[in-house]
């Protein structure tokens, strides 16, 4: 087996669902809190409603996040929670990426 960072095929093992920048941002935000409102997620990622909905649906279908729907008074509020699978996928992605990147001072 090749040393970490030397196998060119290792980059293909990256989870493409997590690797996509918008979804990576969503998972990072969700991993930093217990539950995050749609509005905050939209504002912090700078995405449009449609774009954010599309990405969260893909992540939910993969089992990486749960959607929580509730009412504040009469206003429907949507929030998201990262699942244990989502946390594991994000952690694994970070580990794989770190292994792929060259060490500091080496090029």
């Amino acid at each position: 087996m090749a040393k970490p960072g030397t196998d060119p095929k290792a980059i293909l093992d990256l989870d493409r669902l997590v690797h996509e920048p918008a979804r990576l941002a969503i998972l990072t935000v969700l991993a930093s809190a217990e539950e995050v409102a749609f509005l905050f997620l939209q504002r912090i990622t700078g995405m449009s409603k449609g774009n954010l909905s599309s990405h969260t649906q893909k992540l939910e279908a993969a089992g990486y996040l749960d959607t929580v729907k509730a009412f504040q008074g009469r206003i429907p509020v949507t929030s998201f929670r990262i699942t244990e699978d989502g946390r594991t996928a994000l952690r694994l992605y970070h580990q794989q990426l770190r292994a792929l990147l060259p060490k500091e001072g080496k090029s």
Binding site: E20, P21, A22, L24, A25, T28, V29, A31, S32, A33, E34, E35, V36, A37, F38, L39, F40, R43, I44, T45, G46, M47, S48, V77, S79
Partner: protein, 247 residues
Amino acid sequence: MIPSTSEVPDLEALGTLTREYAAFQSRKSGLATALGGFLAVILVIAALSPNFMGLQVMNRLLIEYLVWVPLLWLGLKELMGRALYHGLGTVKASPDGAYERRRWFWILGMTLFLLAMALTALYAFASGHLQANHPKAALCPPPMWILVMPFLYVLPMPWLIRGIEEARVYAVLMAQSLLWLIPFFLFSFGPPNPPLHSGWGLFGDVTGIGMVVLIELVQIWGALAMVRGWKEHRKYLALLRSLPQEA
């Protein structure tokens, strides 16, 4: 901002901003801390100037209202939190076991303190000291609502005291209210006989000096809390400005 898939977001910044925003909904109070400091200073000033500009500021009615100040602050704190720090929706902070233990330590400490104060007041009443000094006292019931107040202070704590800073503000406001409550309870039958100032000796001197030091400390603490709360609020505004603007 993540407008396209070609840009890589600053993940560390995203995580930090999320945790900071969540902290304002779980632990930090911002302007509510400043309000707590302001109320503490106002109470001290009212106590030091009982006859401000010829007006009798510290009358019985006002003292009865002052004892509600800690609960009033709790209510205002909640309203301010919802109005000021939920603008972008609710973000629940990740559970922090160590912080939660410290919060419960404060709540338990304050509960024990209040219990001790209530029991002391009851003991003072039941010991017969007041009855001995005031024969009429035995004929009228004590103002029991004063003894109920400490329990009213305790009840909302597990739900409404969310952070250590809030616990500190509440403890100071509560202790200040007790300074009014306990003597108000003990002397509600009239001044003791013989008057307080004779026969207290060294104990009286130490208590007097202690009170002066306490008053100064509360004033300093109140001023610092106002600054700290205002700074925290500015930090929140900076956090909002650092978020991408809406498209």
